[in-house]
Protein backbone atom coordinates (compact mmCIF):
# COMPACT_ATOMS: atom_id res chain seq x y z
CA UNK A 1 0.00 0.00 0.00
CA UNK A 2 1.46 3.34 -1.01
CA UNK A 3 0.68 6.83 0.12
CA UNK A 4 -2.51 8.57 -0.96
CA UNK A 5 -1.73 10.43 -4.18
CA UNK A 6 -3.29 13.47 -5.79
CA UNK A 7 -4.40 11.34 -8.75
CA UNK A 8 -6.25 9.01 -6.38
CA UNK A 9 -7.82 11.98 -4.64
CA UNK A 10 -9.20 13.22 -7.95
CA UNK A 11 -10.43 9.71 -8.76
CA UNK A 12 -12.31 9.40 -5.48
CA UNK A 13 -13.68 12.94 -5.88
CA UNK A 14 -14.93 12.14 -9.36
CA UNK A 15 -16.31 8.69 -8.46
CA UNK A 16 -18.19 10.01 -5.44
CA UNK A 17 -19.60 12.83 -7.55
CA UNK A 18 -20.75 10.35 -10.23
CA UNK A 19 -22.53 8.29 -7.60
CA UNK A 20 -24.01 11.35 -5.91
CA UNK A 21 -22.36 10.69 -2.54
CA UNK A 22 -22.66 13.54 -0.05
CA UNK A 23 -19.42 13.75 1.95
CA UNK A 24 -16.69 16.06 3.20
CA UNK A 25 -12.98 15.67 3.72
CA UNK A 26 -12.25 15.88 7.43
CA UNK A 27 -9.24 15.55 9.72
CA UNK A 28 -5.73 16.32 8.70
CA UNK A 29 -6.43 15.30 5.11
CA UNK A 30 -9.10 18.01 5.03
CA UNK A 31 -6.70 20.54 6.54
CA UNK A 32 -4.10 19.65 3.92
CA UNK A 33 -6.64 20.34 1.19
CA UNK A 34 -7.19 23.75 2.78
CA UNK A 35 -3.44 24.38 2.55
CA UNK A 36 -2.15 23.13 5.91
CA UNK A 37 1.46 21.98 5.50
CA UNK A 38 1.84 18.76 7.47
CA UNK A 39 1.97 15.02 6.96
CA UNK A 40 -0.67 12.34 7.34
CA UNK A 41 -1.22 8.76 6.30
CA UNK A 42 -4.79 8.39 5.20
CA UNK A 43 -7.84 10.25 4.05
CA UNK A 44 -10.83 10.85 6.32
CA UNK A 45 -14.27 11.22 4.80
CA UNK A 46 -17.23 12.52 6.81
CA UNK A 47 -20.21 10.97 5.06
CA UNK A 48 -23.86 11.92 5.39
CA UNK A 49 -25.66 9.12 7.17
CA UNK A 50 -28.43 7.63 5.06
CA UNK A 51 -28.81 4.17 3.61
CA UNK A 52 -29.00 5.59 0.09
CA UNK A 53 -25.81 7.61 0.56
CA UNK A 54 -24.02 4.65 2.16
CA UNK A 55 -24.96 2.35 -0.70
CA UNK A 56 -23.81 4.92 -3.25
CA UNK A 57 -20.51 5.22 -1.36
CA UNK A 58 -20.03 1.44 -1.39
CA UNK A 59 -20.69 1.31 -5.13
CA UNK A 60 -18.20 4.14 -5.76
CA UNK A 61 -15.53 2.51 -3.60
CA UNK A 62 -15.91 -0.82 -5.40
CA UNK A 63 -15.51 1.02 -8.68
CA UNK A 64 -12.25 2.49 -7.34
CA UNK A 65 -10.89 -0.96 -6.50
CA UNK A 66 -11.86 -1.43 -2.85
CA UNK A 67 -12.59 -5.11 -2.20
CA UNK A 68 -15.79 -4.90 -0.21
CA UNK A 69 -17.87 -7.90 0.78
CA UNK A 70 -21.63 -7.58 0.84
CA UNK A 71 -21.50 -7.49 4.64
CA UNK A 72 -19.03 -4.59 4.52
CA UNK A 73 -21.24 -2.76 2.04
CA UNK A 74 -24.07 -3.19 4.53
CA UNK A 75 -21.91 -1.62 7.26
CA UNK A 76 -21.51 1.42 5.03
CA UNK A 77 -25.20 1.42 4.21
CA UNK A 78 -26.18 1.22 7.88
CA UNK A 79 -23.75 4.02 8.68
CA UNK A 80 -21.58 2.51 11.40
CA UNK A 81 -19.88 5.45 13.10
CA UNK A 82 -16.42 4.55 11.77
CA UNK A 83 -15.32 2.21 9.00
CA UNK A 84 -11.60 1.77 8.36
CA UNK A 85 -10.73 0.56 4.89
CA UNK A 86 -7.31 -0.83 4.03
CA UNK A 87 -8.62 -3.12 1.34
CA UNK A 88 -8.24 -0.78 -1.60
CA UNK A 89 -5.71 1.34 -3.47
CA UNK A 90 -5.25 3.66 -0.44
CA UNK A 91 -6.24 3.79 3.22
CA UNK A 92 -9.55 5.45 3.92
CA UNK A 93 -11.48 6.19 7.11
CA UNK A 94 -15.21 6.63 6.59
CA UNK A 95 -16.75 8.53 9.48
CA UNK A 96 -20.47 8.96 9.95
CA UNK A 97 -20.42 10.57 13.39
CA UNK A 98 -17.22 12.48 14.08
CA UNK A 99 -16.63 13.75 17.57
CA UNK A 100 -17.25 17.47 18.01
CA UNK A 101 -19.55 18.07 15.02
CA UNK A 102 -23.28 18.26 15.65
CA UNK A 103 -24.50 17.03 12.29
CA UNK A 104 -23.50 16.58 8.70
CA UNK A 105 -26.02 19.24 7.69
CA UNK A 106 -24.31 21.80 9.97
CA UNK A 107 -20.88 20.94 8.61
CA UNK A 108 -22.18 21.08 5.05
CA UNK A 109 -23.48 24.63 5.55
CA UNK A 110 -19.98 25.74 6.54
CA UNK A 111 -17.95 23.61 4.12
CA UNK A 112 -15.57 24.95 1.50
CA UNK A 113 -14.68 23.67 -1.96
CA UNK A 114 -11.04 23.31 -2.98
CA UNK A 115 -10.63 22.40 -6.65
CA UNK A 116 -13.89 20.48 -6.49
CA UNK A 117 -13.04 18.73 -3.22
CA UNK A 118 -15.69 19.33 -0.56
CA UNK A 119 -13.87 20.04 2.69
CA UNK A 120 -15.01 20.71 6.25
CA UNK A 121 -14.46 24.23 7.51
CA UNK A 122 -11.25 24.59 9.52
CA UNK A 123 -13.38 25.30 12.63
CA UNK A 124 -15.01 21.88 12.28
CA UNK A 125 -11.68 20.14 11.69
CA UNK A 126 -10.33 21.72 14.87
CA UNK A 127 -13.52 21.04 16.83
CA UNK A 128 -13.41 17.35 15.94
CA UNK A 129 -9.79 17.06 17.03
CA UNK A 130 -10.49 18.91 20.26
CA UNK A 131 -13.37 16.57 21.01
CA UNK A 132 -11.43 13.42 20.13
CA UNK A 133 -8.75 14.57 22.56
CA UNK A 134 -6.14 12.00 21.57
CA UNK A 135 -2.44 12.46 22.21
CA UNK A 136 -1.81 12.92 18.50
CA UNK A 137 -4.57 15.55 18.28
CA UNK A 138 -3.19 17.47 21.24
CA UNK A 139 0.13 17.60 19.44
CA UNK A 140 -1.28 18.91 16.17
CA UNK A 141 -3.83 21.39 17.57
CA UNK A 142 -1.52 24.38 18.25
CA UNK A 143 -0.31 24.37 14.66
CA UNK A 144 -3.83 23.85 13.31
CA UNK A 145 -5.10 26.81 15.36
CA UNK A 146 -2.23 28.90 14.03
CA UNK A 147 -3.21 27.85 10.51
CA UNK A 148 -6.77 28.99 11.20
CA UNK A 149 -5.41 32.40 12.16
CA UNK A 150 -3.38 32.46 8.98
CA UNK A 151 -6.51 31.63 6.95
CA UNK A 152 -8.45 34.40 8.67
CA UNK A 153 -5.74 36.92 7.91
CA UNK A 154 -5.51 35.79 4.32
CA UNK A 155 -9.21 35.94 3.53
CA UNK A 156 -10.63 39.33 2.53
Amino acid sequence: MGAFEYRQATEIRDALARHGVKYLFLGKSGAILLGFPDTTQDADLFVEKSSENGRALADALKELGFELTEEQCEDLERGKDLVQLKNGPFDLDVIYAPDGIESFADAWKRHVEVEGFPVCHIDDIIASKEAANRVRDRESLPRLRAFREWLRNRQP
Binding site: I32, G35, D38, L85, E115, V135, A146, F147
Partner: protein
Protein backbone atom coordinates in the same frame (compact mmCIF):
# COMPACT_ATOMS: atom_id res chain seq x y z
CA UNK B 1 -19.25 23.82 17.85
CA UNK B 2 -16.54 23.96 20.46
CA UNK B 3 -13.44 25.92 19.65
CA UNK B 4 -10.65 27.13 21.81
CA UNK B 5 -9.57 30.22 19.94
CA UNK B 6 -8.22 33.04 22.06
CA UNK B 7 -7.01 36.40 20.77
CA UNK B 8 -3.57 35.89 22.26
CA UNK B 9 -3.04 32.83 20.03
CA UNK B 10 -2.00 35.11 17.20
CA UNK B 11 0.86 36.62 19.19
CA UNK B 12 2.21 33.22 20.07
CA UNK B 13 2.42 31.82 16.55
CA UNK B 14 6.03 31.11 15.64
CA UNK B 15 7.16 33.15 12.64
CA UNK B 16 8.41 30.04 10.86
CA UNK B 17 4.92 28.52 10.94
CA UNK B 18 3.53 31.61 9.26
CA UNK B 19 6.25 31.35 6.62
CA UNK B 20 5.43 27.67 6.09
CA UNK B 21 1.75 28.50 5.59
CA UNK B 22 2.68 31.19 3.06
CA UNK B 23 5.00 28.79 1.24
CA UNK B 24 2.39 26.01 1.14
CA UNK B 25 -0.16 28.40 -0.34
CA UNK B 26 2.17 29.02 -3.27
CA UNK B 27 2.39 25.30 -4.11
CA UNK B 28 -0.10 23.62 -6.42
CA UNK B 29 -2.45 21.20 -4.70
CA UNK B 30 -0.82 18.19 -6.38
CA UNK B 31 2.55 19.20 -4.89
CA UNK B 32 1.01 19.71 -1.46
CA UNK B 33 -0.36 16.18 -1.70
CA UNK B 34 3.04 14.75 -2.58
CA UNK B 35 4.61 16.41 0.46
CA UNK B 36 1.74 15.61 2.81
CA UNK B 37 0.69 12.00 2.36
CA UNK B 38 3.15 9.41 3.56
CA UNK B 39 2.82 5.77 4.41
CA UNK B 40 4.49 3.99 7.27
CA UNK B 41 3.47 0.76 8.93
CA UNK B 42 1.43 1.23 12.10
CA UNK B 43 1.42 -1.90 14.26
CA UNK B 44 -1.99 -3.44 15.02
CA UNK B 45 -3.82 -0.64 13.21
CA UNK B 46 -2.50 -1.77 9.83
CA UNK B 47 -2.85 -5.47 10.54
CA UNK B 48 -6.47 -5.75 9.42
CA UNK B 49 -7.80 -4.81 6.02
CA UNK B 50 -11.19 -3.80 7.36
CA UNK B 51 -12.67 -2.68 10.66
CA UNK B 52 -16.05 -1.19 11.50
CA UNK B 53 -17.17 0.31 14.78
CA UNK B 54 -20.81 0.89 15.63
CA UNK B 55 -20.00 3.92 17.78
CA UNK B 56 -17.03 6.25 18.14
CA UNK B 57 -16.86 5.28 21.81
CA UNK B 58 -16.39 1.66 20.77
CA UNK B 59 -13.56 2.78 18.47
CA UNK B 60 -11.88 4.92 21.13
CA UNK B 61 -12.10 2.07 23.65
CA UNK B 62 -10.61 -0.31 21.08
CA UNK B 63 -7.72 2.09 20.46
CA UNK B 64 -7.08 2.42 24.21
CA UNK B 65 -7.06 -1.35 24.67
CA UNK B 66 -5.18 -2.47 21.59
CA UNK B 67 -2.82 0.14 20.19
CA UNK B 68 0.67 0.90 21.47
CA UNK B 69 0.57 4.17 23.36
CA UNK B 70 3.36 5.69 21.27
CA UNK B 71 1.08 5.73 18.22
CA UNK B 72 -0.79 8.54 19.95
CA UNK B 73 -4.33 7.24 19.45
CA UNK B 74 -5.04 7.03 23.17
CA UNK B 75 -7.18 9.66 24.84
CA UNK B 76 -5.50 12.29 26.95
Amino acid sequence: MRTSHTPEDLDNIPAEWWQEFDAAARRPLATRFRYAFIHTYKPVLDDARYRAFTTMKEYRDWCDRNLPSWLGYGRV
